[in-house]
Symmetry: C2
Subunit: 613 residues, 2 copies
Amino acid sequence: MHRIIFIAIAIISLASSESSKAQNKQPNIIIILTDDQGSVDMNCYGASDLHTPNMDALAASGVQFNQFYVAAPVCSPSRASLLTGQNPHKAGLPGNASSKEGHSGMPGEKITIAELLKDEGYQTAHIGKWHIGYTPETMPLGQGFDYSFGHMGGCIDNYSHFFYWNGPNRHDLWENGQEVWHDGEYFGDLMASKADDYIKSHKDKPFFMYYAINMPHYPLQPKGKWREHYKNMPMPRRDYAAFISTIDEYIGQLMHTLTEEGLRENTIVILQSDHGHSNETRTFGGGGSAGPYRGSKFSLFEGGIRVPSIISYPDKIKSQQHREQMAFNIDWLPTIADYCGIKTLPDGIEGKSLRKVIHKNSTSEHQQFIWKSGGSWAIRQGDWKLLGYPQDNSGKGKLNPDEDLLFLANIVRDNTEMTNLAEQYPDKTEELKAAYLKWEFANVDDIPKKRKTIQHKAVGRKIELSTRAHTKYKGHGASTLNDGKTGTRFYNDGNWLGFEGNDAEAIIDFGESIVFNEVSVGVMNNIEAWIFAPEYIEISWSANGKNYSTPIKQTVEQTNTNNNFSTRIIQIKQEDINTRFLKVKVKNIGICPDWHNGKGGPAWLFIDEIIVN
Amino acid sequence: MHRIIFIAIAIISLASSESSKAQNKQPNIIIILTDDQGSVDMNCYGASDLHTPNMDALAASGVQFNQFYVAAPVCSPSRASLLTGQNPHKAGLPGNASSKEGHSGMPGEKITIAELLKDEGYQTAHIGKWHIGYTPETMPLGQGFDYSFGHMGGCIDNYSHFFYWNGPNRHDLWENGQEVWHDGEYFGDLMASKADDYIKSHKDKPFFMYYAINMPHYPLQPKGKWREHYKNMPMPRRDYAAFISTIDEYIGQLMHTLTEEGLRENTIVILQSDHGHSNETRTFGGGGSAGPYRGSKFSLFEGGIRVPSIISYPDKIKSQQHREQMAFNIDWLPTIADYCGIKTLPDGIEGKSLRKVIHKNSTSEHQQFIWKSGGSWAIRQGDWKLLGYPQDNSGKGKLNPDEDLLFLANIVRDNTEMTNLAEQYPDKTEELKAAYLKWEFANVDDIPKKRKTIQHKAVGRKIELSTRAHTKYKGHGASTLNDGKTGTRFYNDGNWLGFEGNDAEAIIDFGESIVFNEVSVGVMNNIEAWIFAPEYIEISWSANGKNYSTPIKQTVEQTNTNNNFSTRIIQIKQEDINTRFLKVKVKNIGICPDWHNGKGGPAWLFIDEIIVN
C-alpha cells in the first residue's frame, strides 16, 4: 500500500512537471526599467567609480547595446513609447503625465506589450513606477496588466510612499488598483519582494513582468549599506552612486530568484534606463554621468536619449555580445513578439524586431529616427543627426543662439556632439531637415529661422522698459528687444524677455523724427512652460515723449491646446507714422486659463525683437 | 567567605540606592509638546470623536488648565517662548525659523529651561522636533541640552526623515549634533524608544526631558492601526484623528515607563500643544478642531492660541483638578524653577510660577498678556481681550474690514469671539489700546486707522487698471482703489489689490475737468509675506485720455528689516492740476532683494485707495 501511494505521487509529480514544461515553451519576459540612470552609469558602460556587478553580469550573459536610444528624454513619453512600440506622439503622451490621482495619461486604447502578450496567454505584471496615467483606464490594470504593484505618480518617498513635493502630501502606493499601505518599508525591498513572489507563484505559465525601478530618481534615498560604501565620494555623485548600487543589488536578487526557480534560461531579461541622468535641483543638481556625451534628461543630445540597454536570454541568445548598431526602446515590443512567435503586431508599431541584429549582427533595423520633445527636435539618419533648437543643461558646452539653432553631428565619427557641422555640411543639413519635415508630427514652425542681424529702424536706438522683466529672463536688458536679433525657440536662450504675470511695455526713442509703417513683435507660445501669447499688442507714439497718440491695438489669437509650442511675429501696420518716440505695450493674458494645468497661476509672457520698418 | 561577599554586595547596593535617592530629591521634569493639536482635540477637553485615553488619564492625574495660552500662534516663536519664559519678541524669534541647515534661529545666548536646570545639576534631553535654529549654537546642544535626538526643521517625512516640500529633498535627523540615519523607522517609534532609553539610563539623577512630538503636523502619517480605527471618518479629520491617537499611545508608553521605573510620583509631566490646529493646504485644509473658539494656527483668536495643557506631579500635585485661570506657556519655566527650588531666575523672565494657582487655586498670576504675530496683535487684560487687525482662517465667521479692525471680546462671558464689542465698550477699547501701546514691542503703526468712507475727488469715478492684479487679490476690481475705503492691515482682506512681480497702473476718468492738488496711494510692507513698498509712484494727467503730461514721480523709501510690517500712504503734491484723466503708476520693486529669504523671486506689491484731493 505504501509503495503504491509512493508511485502514484511520483507519477503526479512527473505529470505536473511535464505540463509545466509544455506550457512554458514560450519565454518569460522581464523588462527592468531604471529611472534617470545616466548613459554610462554602469561598469560595463564605462563607469569606474560604481559598483554594479549584477548589471555587468547581466550584460555579459547576453547582448549589451552600445548605441541604444529612448524615444524621449523625459519620463512619461519614454515609458509610453517603450510599452507601445510607438513614438510618444503616436502613443498620445508627448509630455509628462500628472502625478495627481484622477488625471489621465496615455490613452487607454493604446495597445501595450502587456495587452499583446495577454492575448497570447501570458500572465502580466507591473511592479514599480507607472507615471503614464492616474485614472482607472490609464492605470496598469486598464493597460493589460493582470497584476500591478507600485506608485502612479512621478516619484515617491521610498519609505512613506508619499508624493511629497507639492502639497497636500499624499500617499501613492497601489496594488491591483487599490491603495495599499506599507508604512516604513523601503520601496526597493517591497518591489523586489513582490517580484520574487510573482515569479515563484506564476512560473508554471509564461509571464511578462514590467519591473520599473523608481531609482536613481530623486529623492536620493539609497540603502544605508551603499551610502556607507560611497561615503567618501563627493555629493551629489555619492548618493546617486549609492542608489545605482542599490538597484544593482535588486537586479542580483531577481536573477538569483530566476536561477533558483529554474527559469533563468528561458527568460528574456531586458534592462534599460528611461533616459539620461537628471540635473534637477531636486537631485542636488546632478550626480549621474553621460560620459562622453553632452546633454542630460530633457535634452535630445546623446546624453539625454542614449541609455544603457541589455538583453539576456540564455536559451537562445549567446553571451558576451556587444552590438554597436543603433536600436530603440520601441524595438522591444516587436522583438519580444518575435521571440514569442507572435506574427501580427498592433497597427502603427514603429519599432523593429532586433532578432537579426542580436543573432546575425546584421545592420541596424533603423535608417532613421525622429524625436520631438518640448521645443526641440532631432532626426538621426544613418550616421548623421540633426537637432533643431537643441538644449543642453549638462553644462558641458555652450550653444550659440545664432549658429547652433540647427546642430548637425556625425554620431559615428564624433558622438560628443561638441562641434556643429551644419555649416560645413549644408547639403546634409538640408537633407535631414527635409526628412524631418516629412514626419507626421513635424511642423514647418519647428524649423529654426536662421537668426541674422535684422536691419530695421529701431536697431540700436535708445530703448527703455517701463515694466520689469523677470530676473531670470531679462536678456541683456531692454536693448535685447532692438539688437537686431530675434530669440530662438527657447525662452531661456538669453534673447527673450520674460514677464511673469505682468505686461511688457517699452519705449523707443529714435533720437529724431523718423517715418515708419509697421511695428512687429515676436511672441511665444509654450503651454507646457506656462508661456502664452499676449492678449494684444498696442503701439502709440509721441513727438516729445510726453503726449502719446491714441494707441493702435492688435489682438492676438490664442490657442488652447496643451503641449502647443510656437513662436509668432505679430505685426501692426499704420501708414507713415512720423515721430520720435514709440511706445509698444504687450499685454500679458495675466493668469493661466481654466483649461490649463496652471489655472489661476501667473501666466508668462515672452517677447523678443521689436521690429520697426 | 561566600557570606562575606554577599554582605559586601548588599552594602554597596544599599549605598548606591541611598545615594540615588539623595540625588533624586528634585523632581524629574518632562515637557511633552504636541504640534498643531487643536484647542479641544482631546477627550477631556471636549472632543467626542477621538480616542485619547492616555492624555485623559494624564489630565485626571493632575491639573487640567482650561484657559491656557501660548505666546504665539506659530511654531518657532511658540517654542522659543516656552523654553525661555519670555515672549517671542524678547526671545528673539517672533517668526518661524528656517528649515535649512546653516540658518540660525533663536539667538544662542537666550537662556532656556535646559540651561537653567543644567546649572542645578540636571541631566537635560531634547527629543523630537526643534525648529528654533539650525546652526551649532542654536541647535539643542547649543541651548543647554546634554542629549538631543530629532529633526531641526519644521517637519519631516516620518519614515525617511527627509524634509521634502522644497527641494532638493534633504535628510533631517540628528543625534547630539551629528546626522544619523534610521531609514524606514517611524519617527514616532524612534522618539518613544529614545525617550524610554533616556529615562531608564538617567533615572539616578534628576533629568529634564523636552519631548517635542512632531504630530499631528503634516505630513499626515498616523500609524496604520489608527488609520484603520478611524477609517469611516471623513477626511481630513480621519487622518488627523488617527494622528492624535498615535500621539496618545506614545504618551501612554512614556507614562508606563515612568511607572515601571518607579519615577512616576516624583516626575513633573507637562503636556501642551504648540498652538491651534492648522488649516493649511499641506494638511488637506484642516482636520483639527478649536471647539467653540474661532481662529486656528496663525490667528490670535482663541482657536490659534488657546491650547490643551496639563501638569501632573503625583508627589505634590493633587489629581482630578481643573483650573480656569488664565495661564501661559511662558509660565512653565518659573513653575518648574519653583518646584525645583531655584530661587534666581534669568533676567527678563515674563512667566510666573503657577504653583499657587495649582495648589491654592489662587487667581491668575497674569492680569495682562500681549501677543504680536504677523500683522496682528492682541492684549488680554482681566476678562477682556482686544485684537488689532485680527485674522481668522478658520472660516467660522467673517471680519468686517470697517468694523472689526479693532475687535473687543469679553473672554469670560463669551469665548467664541463672534461678537465684536468694541463699539459697545469704547472706553474698554481705549483702555486696552493704551495698555497695548505701553508694551515695549508695540508700535503706533499697529493701531488700526479706523476705516471710514474717505471723501475725495476720485470716489466713484470711472477707473480702469492697465496692469493686472493677481487673481487671488483683485478685490472687487479696479473700483476697489477708489471706493473711498482703505484696506486693512491684511493683504487678503479684499480691499487691497496685489500684484505679483508686476506694477500697478490705473487710469481714473473724472468724466469732466476737475482741479486737484494731491494724489495719495496706500502701500504695504509685509516682508515675511514677500510684500514690499513700491520703488516709486508716478502720476500723469491728460485732458483727452490720450496725451498725458510728463509724469511726476515720488520715490518710496525701502526698509530692509525682516519681520517688518507697515502700511503707508505715499503722497504726491502738485498745485492746481486741472484735467479729466489721471494716470497713477505704482512701481513694483520687481524681485525680492538679496537680503530677503525670497531673493530673486517675484516681489508682491499691494496698494489700496488712490486718494485725490
